[in-house]
């Protein structure tokens, strides 16, 4: 029985890792580097991630490319929750990893998106070069192939869903007007 389960895991993991469809979510300047990564010079299609989706329902990977402010946080959480499982997150750029240059004195910027949603890969640079984004996607693929199982994913979802609901209630309180 264990042999069949691990075989299914192996097949699923390879299928998922080699067709990570990212969501088009470029909130500031890192988005330009993300566009460059998609374009023919750096050609992210070599790694199966060229299909940028406009709808979160069709996407597997949220590349959060840019600063997240308090006003944008509800949108980020909503998009993340709308994505179907299994879903992965790359925090692209210093702003999304820990606030970046807004870390000390900004009133509007959230210091790291890991306060809102769970993050798989951190990619700090300002902004990251296309090669670095490709490296992050390769690291994510290795993580999926080596570590991911169906049972682990189930535990992960269960452990995070309650936290996301709590944060969602907080967000609703803040964003009630819009």
């Amino acid at each position: 029985m264990g042999f069949f389960v691990t075989s299914i895991d192996w097949v699923l993991n390879n299928a998922r890792a080699n067709s990570l469809w990212p969501l088009t979510f470029a909130t500031s300047c890192c988005g330009i580097e993300m566009m460059h990564t998609v374009a023919s010079d750096n050609d992210i299609a070599r790694f199966g991630s060229e299909v940028f989706r406009g709808s979160p329902r069709q996407a597997d990977l949220l590349i959060c490319a840019g600063t997240i402010t308090h006003k944008m946080a509800p949108v980020l959480l909503r998009l993340y929750e709308q994505m179907a499982e299994p879903k992965y997150v790359i925090a692209m750029g210093a702003c999304t990893c820990g606030g970046g240059m807004f870390c000390d004195y900004s009133y509007s910027v959230i210091r790291g998106i890991d306060k809102i949603i769970p993050v798989d890969i951190y990619l700090p640079m300002c902004p990251p070069k296309p090669e670095a984004l490709i490296d992050a996607i390769r690291k994510l693929q290795q993580k999926i192939v080596k570590n991911e199982t169906i049972m682990k994913r189930k535990d992960f979802v269960e452990s995070h869903s309650s936290k996301l609901v709590q944060k969602g209630e907080l967000l609703v309180e803040v964003k009630s007007e819009y």
């Binding site: 006003k71 959230i110 803040v174």
Partner: protein, 144 residues
Amino acid sequence: MNINDLRNIFGDCELNGNKICIKYNLHEFLSNLKNNYSFKLLKSITAVDLGNETELLYNLLSTEDEEDVVISIKVQNEAESVIDLFSSAIADENEIYDMFGIRFIGHEDLKRLYMPENWEGFPLRKDYVQDDTRLVWNDNGDNA
């Protein structure tokens, strides 16, 4: 026109380069500039927090000889609105209310422009402290 002639329009004003510091009657002054001296374009309104008062800077452009002039007035918490003279001032005054909390008398629809509607405080003031507990996103209680 020579910028020194502007001194004659309004007696009690101070001239510093192309910056004119006035003390009261802002609306009347701008109305005079617009109707009689061809300063028909309001390029921007900005504000500076000086601690106990706020300085409003109105940047105007003459449509005849392309001359810039900056009108400066120091206010406490309220100022005269100029949206009946320059309709482009609607967004500028909204932004200054959003960031500095200056209320413009005569501006009917004054509201938050960039910040969320129920945001507490005015973030570009010097005495602004961010202590809104609704903005705590993590379990440690860090306000960030």
